[in-house]
């Protein structure tokens, strides 16, 4: 177990067999140890506590991790995802949108990236003025541009409106955004917070846009709860799912009380609202919450994912995360507790995003190039601190840490093992004329994500995974196609030869050898695909019976190999 993955260590009361030690991980693995001597246990406990709480970035695993890449590969890895390229793909800059250099030295907004796209009509004074009127200086900028509809998703933080303050530049800024959209004069302003929270913020001199002060806006609250609610919601969920000998009703009422699925649904509902505004009304949308880096990132990225099939490819999904999460300053370091910091800053906002995506993959099994393992792997590495991508809270901080020189990027590694993350059912032409996904958000569509929260409790998962089977089969199909080609070529060649056989006898000895080489794989392939592994099970979950599944064939377990090998790597490093 990677030290960075440890979320909590707990010492339980002494028992006859020794001192139990429970380690809870950020990837939802829970490990129980029994240490025979209490003193040892105490030492281990203290060391783990210290090791899992890193004070400085430089002590994180990413700075010591060495995947045997040379420098040029490292540089190339970091260049793999190029956001300028991505904006070009969307169709900006264009006659309405331009690249602004206002934030070149992070002067206007520390938590934004350097390159920002704004409406052409928004001059620098407007930008500066607007940023002064927005919390943390996060003024409205482009997040996604929909080429066909000419509509944009923009993002910002809450206005510092208090009860009556207004700012002409900010009003101009919003007008510039709605004017940049020739197809619809109106624009939507989505405040992703519950109305009550937004109103409370007014007392602190913050708040939300007054529809009277801004021309042609339609203002809408969508009611996603804040990071503290989400944190305690996950806490409750984990308490329920971690209970032993759980009854169905306790599970369901626990699930209900945690509110977790309700929050996931709220996030997805907000994204659906955004998508409707763009796809149906061709209206631009400005999204914000309080600081514009949690709920705003969720809604903007999910909206783009629903609108644009590119983000449903493996590479596109990486781009989406780079853009809406990493570059726009989602505070990964604080939210995932990479350093020993304020526990009130921790929140599973990104996990919720991944879970929303997973829910979509369940509803549209053919629309996504990637599979569940891909989402789980990304989740793993957001917390592992093994790669530089998710370190720090914003781009400025990352530059100061010189992450691009000192650490490696996760994306090339994921691309290298792409095969494992491919969805065998993916159909790139899925609803061709309409790349838009319209998910059904009736409650029964939202399910508990067992493979996330019980990733390591193998006993709970289906013994045979249809998905893995199909994945192997479609992989095997490619190999078989290859084999057929080879065999046909060989037969052809042989036919040619046997015609010529009587003439050229000396060619003969060359033939048996290749066949002999070819036979072993053929026998291997004809073996049944399903491992015989049912013999070692008991009634799981009904009682406290221990898990007797040791002979489980690793290939068929969920996303195990990579995790294990990664941990071996760590084990070696820390020993």
């Amino acid at each position: 177990i990677l030290h960075h993955h440890i979320a909590a260590v707990e010492k339980l009361p002494l028992t006859t067999s020794g001192c139990p030690l429970v380690i809870q991980c950020k990837n939802f693995r829970i490990v129980h140890f029994v240490v025979p001597r209490e003193r040892d246990c105490h030492d281990i406990y203290n060391s783990l506590l210290q090791l899992s709480r890193t004070a400085k970035y430089e002590e994180l695993y990413a700075f010591s991790y060495n995947p045997k890449q040379n420098e040029s590969e490292q540089v190339k890895g970091w260049q793999l995802i190029d956001l300028a390229e991505e904006y070009k793909r969307m169709g900006v800059p264009n006659s309405n949108w331009q690249l602004s250099d206002a934030n070149r030295d992070y002067k206007i907004c520390e938590t934004y990236p350097k390159e920002l796209y704004v409406p052409r009509t928004a001059s620098k004074p407007i930008i500066v003025g607007s940023s002064k009127f927005r919390s943390k200086g996060r003024f409205p900028v482009l997040s996604y541009y929909h080429k066909n509809k000419e509509a944009a998703i923009c993002r910002c933080s809450q206005p510092l409106s208090g009860f009556s303050a207004r700012c002409l530049e900010d009003e101009h800024m919003l007008q510039a955004i709605s004017k940049a959209n020739p197809s619809n004069r109106y624009m939507y302003v989505m405040d992703t917070r519950p109305k009550l929270n937004a109103m409370a913020n007014r007392a602190a001199g913050k708040g939300y846009e007054n529809e009277d002060n801004y021309s042609n806006i339609r203002f809408q609250f969508v009611g996603i709860e804040n990071i503290h609610v989400m944190r305690s919601s996950l806490q409750k969920l984990l308490e329920v799912s971690g209970t032993k000998g759980l009854s169905v009703n306790d599970f369901l009422s626990g699930l209900e009380n945690s509110g977790w699925l309700r929050h996931i649904k709220a996030v997805l509902d907000a994204a659906v609202f955004l998508v409707k505004a763009i796809a149906v009304e061709s209206a631009s949308v400005l999204v914000h919450c309080s600081d514009g880096w949690d709920r705003t990132s969720q809604v903007c990225s999910l909206g783009a994912l629903l609108l644009d099939s590119y983000y449903r490819t493996i590479r596109g999904f990486m781009v989406l995360i780079e853009k809406d999460w990493i570059s726009f300053g989602h505070k990964f370091s604080d939210r995932c507790c990479q350093l020993d910091g304020d526990p009130k800053e921790i929140s599973p906002v990104f996990t919720q995003f991944l879970e929303s995506v997973w829910n979509l993959t369940e509803q549209f099994p053919q629309a996504f190039e990637y599979n569940e393992a891909f989402l789980l792997q990304i989740h793993e590495h957001v917390h592992s601190c093994q790669f530089g991508n998710f370190l720090g809270n914003c781009q400025k901080e990352r530059e100061e840490l010189k992450l691009k020189e000192k650490t490696y990027s996760l994306w090339p590694f994921l691309l290298d093992e792409q095969k494992r993350y491919q969805n065998p059912l993916y159909n790139p032409d899925f609803s061709p004329e309409l790349t838009l996904l319209e998910p059904n958000t009736v409650s029964f569509n939202f399910k508990f994500w067992r493979n996330m929260y019980h990733q390591f409790d193998r006993s709970m998962h289906p013994r045979q995974s249809v998905f893995n089977l199909i994945m192997n089969m479609s992989e095997q199909n490619k190999q078989l196609e290859q084999d057929i080609k080879e065999l046909e070529a060989k037969i052809k060649q042989r036919n040619g030869q046997s015609d010529a056989f009587s003439v050229k006898e000396h060619q003969q000895p060359a033939h048996p050898a290749p066949l002999a080489l070819k036979t072993p794989p053929c026998f291997k392939k004809e073996q049944p695909l399903i491992p015989v592994n049912d013999a070692v099970r008991t009634i799981e979950g009904s009682n406290a019976a221990d898990n007797r599944y040791s002979e489980f064939v690793s290939e068929f377990s969920k996303a195990e190999p990579a995790v294990v090998s990664l941990e071996y790597g760590v084990a070696r490093m820390t020993c």
Binding site: E256, L261, S443, Q464, L469, L480, I491
Partner: protein, 546 residues
């Protein structure tokens, strides 16, 4: 009685059919003795809907001006709406449907009128006979015999004419045991585990009453199934409390003192009243997450699933792991008992996971064992007039099978559709298989002569191919399902079948099947090519030798 008397308006034009997720269609509605037929003959979109009256669970009517609306709720949980112009027509049609869907007499049911349009290759009524089953058994053990004691249904009205009992117990003893068991359901063989010779028996509760009656023959009978020095388990599907209360009504349970070689375990499977609540929750299209989860919880459906699976796993564990014989019973031994014995067999016996094996299991453990299908499946989730003998016992069993199927998707020869088909036919069918409450009633109704068996239809290759699981690879092992709440799922194929668009899921499923098919084709081709190459090889070598 003539059906024509009940049909006041046999036909109505310009009727509009509404179904969720489909466009409304206009067409003609016809009523026949057994069907409601809706057909639209528009050129671009000709379609027909045939609905058995016996499939209709409830019917509601509404009026807006002269436009009448009938909402029909079916036993397979589908809901359709028909807009019928004309107040009188609408009222007539509604009352006709109501009358036709609640016919009292079994002999008026469709199976007695249905004439098959297919060629009968194998008579399903003769596909699964007890003699065949016994023949299989006697090839591995000679400790059991086929008793014809119930030939005229004289000893136990809900048992089949022949039953399998220990060889050492004669018919006279059986008669005495029958007097000691509720409804005369004396212990009979349910399953023989070839691997270790352990058995599972089922019966009803013993009639010990308050003063602790005992029956020497009963003790002898069940002890006859034990190996010397071995113990057995009695799995009572009631809680200890309920079992104790049963004594006041003359029932009871086996006292340790009288059955010293047996350990009694109470695994409570409560009688399920929750289908209505579950279906109501599933039909609620509102977007409130908390309400959905609390309704799902309040329905208790998944709790029942867990209870039943747990009891079945326990029975299977006693047999396979502990090497002990098991006797299963509840009160009457016609409901929860059968759920446990049949599911335990699916866990233990690979044969029950094949199509034919599963059909045979349903025949043995449900139809012949006297599960009162007609009473239990009289109504489904929408009926207003709920009778106390109605309960979704068989549906719960199918749901449990589906849960295991989901956890072992490659170990079953049949697919989800097969289970859904059985669910539909248990509630409304053109076949006689699920009519009547036991073999006694079936023989009185002369179903064998007068109706067609479901199995005659299913077991033809045209139908079978729809129910085959492309991933099936025979698995000879015992399969232990997980019963953790996180592992159990709502059976969407039944409960959300009509409530959500399934286009994307269906397409994905088709894609999956085509990948599997393609894989098989490629493998066959590779093998053929290899063979060809090898033949050429030997030819060459022979030539060389020449």
């Amino acid at each position: 009685m003539e059906f024509a008397e009940l049909i006041k308006t046999p036909r109505a034009d310009n009727v509009v059919l509404h179904r969720p997720f489909y466009l409304a269609v206009e067409g003609t509605l016809c009523l026949t003795g057994h069907h409601l037929i809706f057909s639209s003959r528009r050129q671009d979109n000709a379609e027909e809907l045939w609905l058995l009256h016996s499939n209709i669970d409830s019917i509601e009517k509404r009026f807006v001006g002269s436009l009448g609306t009938i909402i029909i709720k079916c036993k397979d949980l589908r809901i359709i709406q028909l807009d019928i112009p004309g107040m009188e027509e609408c009222l007539n049609i509604a009352s006709s449907i109501e009358a036709l869907s609640t016919l009292d007499s079994v002999t008026l049911m469709y199976p007695f009128f249905y004439r098959p349009m297919f060629e009968i290759i194998e008579d399903g009524w003769r596909s699964f006979l007890p003699d065949q089953e016994f023949e299989l058994l006697s090839s591995v053990t000679d400790e059991w015999r086929l008793s014809c004691i119930n030939k005229e249904f004289s000893v136990c009205p809900s048992y089949p004419p022949v039953v399998i009992v220990p060889k050492s117990i004669d018919d006279e003893a059986l008669r005495k045991v029958a007097m000691f068991r509720h409804g005369s359901r004396f212990p009979v063989l349910s399953y023989y585990h070839k691997k270790n010779g352990m058995v599972m028996m089922r019966s009803s509760q013993p009639l010990t009453g308050t003063n602790g009656r005992r029956c020497k023959e009963d003790e002898k009978l069940i002890n006859a199934t034990l190996r010397p020095g071995k113990r057995g388990y009695i799995i009572d599907t009631r809680s200890l409390n309920v079992a104790q209360q049963a004594r006041a009504k003359g029932g009871g349970f086996e006292q340790e003192a009288h059955y010293p070689q047996w350990r009694r375990i109470h695994k409570c499977i409560e009688r399920c009243e929750s289908l209505i609540k579950l279906v109501e929750a599933c039909n609620d299209q509102s977007h409130n997450m908390d309400r959905w989860l609390s309704k799902l919880e309040a329905s208790n459906w998944l709790t029942h699933i867990k209870e039943i699976l747990t009891a079945a796993c326990l029975a299977a564990q006693c047999i396979d792991r502990e090497g002990a014989s098991v006797l299963v019973h509840g009160t009457e031994g016609t409901d929860s008992t059968l759920q446990v014995t049949s599911l335990a067999q699916i866990i233990l016996d690979p044969r029950c996971r094949t199509i034919r094996g599963f059909e045979s299991l349903v025949v043995r453990e449900w139809l012949q064992a006297g599960h009162p299908f007609q009473q239990r499946c009289a109504q489904s989730a929408y009926s207003n007039s709920k009778q106390k003998w109605e309960a979704p016992v068989f549906l719960l069993f199918l749901d449990c099978v589906w849960q295991i199927l989901r956890q072992f998707p490659c170990s079953f020869e049949f697919n989800e559709q097969f289970l859904i088909m059985l669910f539909e036919h248990a509630y409304a069918s053109q076949f006689g298989t699920f009519l009547g409450n036991n073999e006694n009633e079936r023989s009185k109704l002369k179903l064998l002569q007068k109706t067609m068996s479901l199995w005659s239809w299913v077991n033809r290759s045209e139908e079978l191919c729809k129910f085959q699981n492309p991933l099936f690879e025979a698995n000879s092992l015992v399969i232990w399902p997980s019963v953790a709440p996180q592992s159990l799922q709502l059976w969407e194929g039944v409960f959300l079948r009509w409530n959500r668009p399934s286009k994307f899921l269906d397409e994905a499923h088709e894609e999956m099947i085509s990948i599997i098919k393609y894989n098989k084709e490629l493998q066959a081709k590779v093998n053929a090519l290899r063979r060809q190459l090898a033949e050429m090889e030997t030819d060459d070598r022979m030539q060389e030798n020449l």
